[in-house]
Symmetry: C2
Subunit: 140 residues, 2 copies
């Protein structure tokens, strides 16, 4: 993901406005390695801008995803998670707390079998490892 300043310029360049609410969200996303939900970002944004609405958070996140600056992930935890890391990578998801971790690995063998591949226009390939993270395991 680009820096908050660069994102402001990008928004302007694409006919969007660079508002204080958006800058606030850009800064929260910048450098985060967790995969926050819209609600999480909303909660954090409210600490700095009490009047911000959840609707605005969703709109900004959707805009960022449309511009390819963040990834909108559905990891099966009940709500979308947003990832400022847009490089090709995979995920390790905890079935207990829902937290996700990036996995930087290349799986060259992961290809659609020839029979099925012929008529399918492939867009993306995702690998999800599910299980329990250290935190949840030591909790019991």
């Amino acid at each position: 993901m680009k820096s908050p300043v660069e994102l402001g310029e990008l928004f302007r360049a694409t006919g969007r406005k660079n508002t204080a609410q958006r800058q606030c969200i850009f800064e929260l996303l910048h450098g985060t390695t967790v995969h926050p939900t819209a609600e999480t970002i909303y909660a954090e944004a409210r600490d700095k801008m009490p009047s911000i609405s959840l609707r605005t958070v969703y709109q900004t996140l959707n805009d960022l995803a449309a511009l390819g600056e963040i990834q909108q992930l559905d990891l099966g935890t009940g709500s979308f998670r947003f990832d400022p890391n847009v490089d090709a990578h995979h995920h390790l998801v905890c079935i207990e707390c829902g937290n996700a971790e990036d996995i930087y690995a290349d799986f060259p063998d992961v290809q659609i079998p020839r029979a099925a591949a012929k008529d399918f226009e492939l867009t993306s390939t995702e690998v999800v490892f599910r299980g329990r993270c250290v935190t949840c395991r030591t909790k019991d």
Copy 2:
């Protein structure tokens, strides 16, 4: 997935009741290769049992999943899909219509990198190929 008759016995053996509604759902699931949603099954079940409720469909599907007779899949299409095929397999998902196809392939190199694997208790590994299916491609 077991046959409708066997599932009826299994339900009784596990202290559940083998009702007409459940037999109807068992028969709909038996042998299907698509990955129906609860709503789809509900619509089909109503053709044979107009009084059946959506709640009963959800309950029966959840019971079947708890017994390991079907798989409850979240393929990022907005709702759960149910798969009577419980063998280890992966999926090809259309981002336009949401339909899913089974992929029987073994990806032996898909493993958690050693650094991350140490503290994680792995339960399952899923590979999802996303793109557009033939039907949706030829539609345009």
